[in-house]
Subunit: 153 residues, 2 copies
């Protein structure tokens, strides 16, 4: 009988069309876990020796990430396209290679703008708390800011 | 007397021409600490709440990083240009958005190829050991591989 050995993972993962060799394309989150639209996830680095992970999220035109907050922070770099970002009490446009730091317990959401997909790198601690979703009251408070009301639609 | 207050650091750091707003351009390493050529460093994320840092290194045409190894690992993404990478006992070409994982205690060096600068993101643990340089004997052993001898020139 043939012995099936796991092919050792290569340290080189070449890029092509916003996919990386040997990196699976995953769902953004568990279906129904939280509101989001048209996002995929690829885990680029998640190594036991590294204390953070690097993920790549891609949002189709018209798509958005979950509006959420959590204790852990994100280091984000836009890799392609453009978006509006809600961060705390502010809405800002971002484009390719811009950086965004998401501080602890700060509401945040990405919404694509334009007709191209928007992709971003997200560096995050390997050990982290679960995201929280806004309550009705928290959503109402957010929407008292006209810019955020317009952003959330 | 006027009170000088530190301007709060913005969570948004817009990109322009491979610089980021409020991110200083630094020397790659202390002068004379190790052999390298034509590199700059920008620290994109180094936050007490994040267990890793994200740095951007840019190597001018003809430049190279230090040949070194260490216990800590690197998660690297090429952001612009192309290079040859020495990793362990292998030399491989890499180009924009390719990924390279540098495992523990593995000799590595980046050398630009082509006429454009080569820039890369490097994710690394905030707490890490110091790099080691090769001894004469280790360098000799590396150069017993003709591809590596050619790479090191």
């Amino acid at each position: 009988m043939e012995k099936h050995e796991k092919k050792p993972e290569s340290p080189f993962r070449p890029f092509g069309d916003y996919r990386w060799e040997e990196v699976p394309l995953l769902a953004y989150k568990e279906e129904g876990a939280a509101p989001f639209k048209a996002i995929t996830r690829q885990v680029l680095f998640a190594n036991p020796e590294l204390h953070c992970e690097m993920r790549y999220f891609e949002v189709a035109p018209g798509g958005y990430s979950t509006l959420e907050r959590h204790q852990h922070t994100h280091g984000v770099m836009i890799l392609r396209g453009q978006a509006d970002v809600l961060l705390g009490n502010e809405v800002r446009p971002v484009k390719t290679f811009d950086l965004v730091h998401i501080p602890p317990m700060t509401w945040h959401q990405f919404r694509t703008t334009g007709t191209e997909p928007m992709g971003f790198l997200c560096m995050v601690n390997a050990l982290r708390d679960k995201p929280q979703l806004p309550t009705e009251d928290e959503l109402k408070a957010l929407k008292s800011n006209p810019a955020i009301a317009a952003f959330l639609g």
